[in-house]
């Protein structure tokens, strides 16, 4: 059997070569990379591979176990459908960005030590920034800058944490870290920024809607899920994660309900779903950790499908806001069907979400965490209401916007169809396809019990009923073109404020110094050394000239003569000697005392 190659290597090489190819050849090559990645995935044996020595550190580029393999698997699936989805336009930047992003994510989850992880962690940011730039609008360019600033900050926090951790005697092993001391806390926070925790995660809903149509599929998959993976590796069972997760599950939904841009609604729901995973990590039980891995796998599927469906709407109509869309089922029936499958995949029986997320909810219930359980139920209802009902309804049904366009292009439909089929397969055959990939095989879970299925159907139908009744009663908030303030305000308004503050204060000091020192003091000193001598001489000579009874004209002429001679250093010997004698006389007087 041939040896497996590091997955990241295949993708990064692909990303480097793509820009040099042209036309159909480029399309075939770009699509071949994930296919090769897929074949390569099945060649990877469990264990530790590809060790490289760097200085005194041993870098481990491949640690293949349950955790890393399930994440690498779903990343490979998404890289294939993502590339297929953007294949039609055949833009080198988009294709390269997708491959680079996917390769970096795989490098990060396969990393066996913290140094390798950090390297790929930073590469992820590069991939995301390219996906934002690929939109090629002024506002996406600005969003890319904001994304870069936030993630460079996050990277510095992580690096500082790693350095302190190593300096305090910690190892570079990418395993469970005790959350005590400044270093581990900084590492924790660095991971949390990428995981889109409350406040520090505002970059996600700020920038994701600015990404290119295809780039968003990669963005929605790699950064946050890699962060979930590293948290599950390094801080499993950390109680504070439980409450961070609950906040992530609950808070973004209130924004999703009033948000107009449907891609941003999905972004808020993405944070909500990642919150479930963080709760699973915080619980730290075998079932909840398995649930985190399973939910990450399933979530990536349906979130990619939903982003693709709305992406196709944006691709065809140029619009993604609820106020501008509606009634598109007439123009894009197949895309609408896939969007509905994506919606059902969030948590309906027979689809992926049902067999993943329910493990985490069951783990909270079986662990006796009643409050967390209720928060997760609230989050599950809200997520289905927003991503599962609001998004398809406002885009494809509801008020007819009058937009008429073509159905999504074939490659996009194929990509969506692939994900829809995978979601159905995973949902119907979890014991064959999903559960054998989970990190801990010692625990068994059965999602399809009569009680669970009927409860879940009633749960989802009730969400639908609530939505319809609220619409009929006029209770559901009208979609309004507006900006909703979030924590991104801190850097979008706070950043410029600090800039202006620095501008006003530091530049004022600068100006005052320029005025006072350069404008007055320096010319004064120059003037003193230039004309101080002759002025002194004139001061001494004026009484003598008066005794000599010189006329005012003669006095002026004498003064001019002193100044001219001082400038040229050309006093007559007599005067110089006269002053020298006076000076010597004064000195000899001084010597007597």
């Amino acid at each position: 059997m041939p040896e497996a190659a590091p997955p990241f290597l295949i993708y990064l090489l692909g990303a480097l070569i793509v820009p040099f190819l042209r036309g159909r050849f480029r399309q075939v090559f770009a699509l071949a990379i994930p296919v090769i990645g897929f074949v390569n995935f099945y060649l990877i044996d469990k264990g530790v591979h590809w060790k490289v020595d760097l200085l005194e550190f041993e870098l481990i580029l491949g640690r293949a176990d349950g955790w890393s393999l399930i994440f690498t698997h779903i990343f490979t699936v998404v890289s294939f459908v993502g590339i297929l989805y953007i294949l039609r336009d055949n833009v080198a930047l988009d294709l390269s960005a997708g491959l680079l992003y996917a390769g970096s994510a795989m490098g990060a989850v396969m990393a066996g030590d913290l140094i390798t992880l950090f390297f790929f962690w930073e590469m992820l940011t590069l991939g995301a920034v390219l996906c934002l730039l690929a939109r090629r609008t002024p506002s996406s360019g600005r969003a890319a800058k904001r994304y870069l600033l936030v993630h460079v900050f996050g990277g510095v926090v992580l690096l500082a944490g790693l350095v302190l951790h190593l300096a305090a005697g910690g190892s570079t092993a990418f395993d469970k870290i005790e959350l005590s001391g400044v270093g581990p806390w900084l590492i924790f926070l660095g991971f949390g920024i990428n995981c889109a925790w409350p406040i520090v995660g505002a970059w996600l809903t700020d920038t994701y809607p600015e990404a290119s149509v295809g780039g968003l599929i990669f963005m929605a998959t790699f950064t946050t899920k890699t962060a979930v993976y590293v948290l599950a590796r390094t801080f499993p069972g950390e109680p504070v994660l439980l409450w961070i997760g609950v906040a992530m599950v609950v808070l973004p939904l209130f924004y999703a309900a009033i948000e107009n841009d449907l891609r941003r609604v999905l972004a808020y729901c993405l944070i909500n779903q990642v919150g479930f995973m963080v709760v699973g990590i915080g619980l730290g039980t075998t079932l909840s950790l398995n649930g985190t891995a399973a939910h990450a796998y399933c979530h990536v599927l349906y979130k990619a499908l939903l982003f693709m469906a709305i992406g196709s709407v944006l691709y065809r109509t140029g619009k993604s806001k609820a106020t501008e869309l509606g009634g598109l089922v007439r123009s894009m029936p197949v895309t609408c069907l896939f969007c509905c499958i994506g919606a059902l995949s969030i948590s309906a029986p027979l689809f992926a979400g049902f067999v993943g997320k329910s493990m985490i909810i069951s783990a909270t219930a079986s662990g006796g965490y009643g409050t967390v359980f209720l928060a997760l139920l609230f989050g599950a209802a809200g997520a289905f209401l927003m991503a599962g009902i609001k998004v398809p309804y406002f885009a494809f049904f509801g008020r007819d916007s009058g937009l008429r366009c073509e159905e999504a292009p074939l490659n996009q439909l194929l990509a969506m169809g692939t994900i829809a089929v995978v979601s159905l397969l995973v949902g119907t055959l979890p014991h064959q396809l999903l559960y054998p990939m989970l990190p801990d095989l010692s625990v068994s879970y059965e999602p399809y019990t009569v009680g669970h299925v009927t409860d879940q159907i009633l749960f989802l139908l009730s969400c639908g009923l609530a939505f319809v009744l609220m619409l009929r009663a006029g209770w559901y908030p009208a979609e309004i073109r507006a900006t909703n303030l979030d924590a991104d305000w801190l850097y979008r308004k706070g950043g410029p404020f600090i800039y202006r503050l620095a501008d006003k204060s530091l530049n004022a000091i600068n100006a005052a110094v320029a005025r006072g020192f350069l404008g007055r003091f320096v010319p004064g000193v120059t003037n003193f050394f230039e004309s101080g001598g002759p002025r002194l001489a004139c001061f001494v000579m004026t009484p003598l000239w008066a005794i000599q009874r010189l006329t005012p004209e003669e006095t002026d002429a004498a003064r001019h003569s002193v100044f001219r001679r001082a400038k040229h250093g050309a006093f007559p010997i007599g005067i110089t000697a006269f002053f020298a004698v006076i000076l010597l006389g004064l000195l000899s007087l001084l010597m007597r005392f």
């Binding site: 209130f254 309900a257 009633l458 009208a478 507006a482």
Partner: protein, 101 residues
């Protein structure tokens, strides 16, 4: 063909779907009834928490959660956080959703 008229204020008041409303209500009623039957016959749903055994817990819970979510968003969150669409970028005159096609 229904008349497409986005209102000038950019607001949209979507009409409620009527066709399947009765079907939806009937389905909810059916599963609620089924849950009640489970409870009365003592069918074991393997619950972890005692609430889960209450008939219709998941239905009523989801319904209440949706109403609560929308109500808080509409009457508390929106008045607090809503700003003009060009709040951050006053000069943005580019079309909102230019596709990269």
């Amino acid at each position: 063909m229904p008349s497409p008229k986005p209102s000038p204020g950019g607001k949209s008041a979507p009409p409620a779907p009527r066709k399947y409303f009765k079907l939806l209500v009937a389905a909810c009623g059916f599963f609620l009834l089924l849950d009640l039957v489970f409870r009365l016959t003592g069918f074991d749903k393997h619950p972890y928490l005692k609430w889960e055994q209450w008939p219709g817990f998941y239905g009523i819970g989801a319904f209440a959660a949706c109403i609560l979510l929308v109500t808080i968003s509409r009457f508390v969150v929106r008045p607090l956080v809503k700003r003009d669409e060009d709040y951050y970028e006053k000069s943005s005159s580019e079309p909102g959703g230019k596709s990269d096609a």
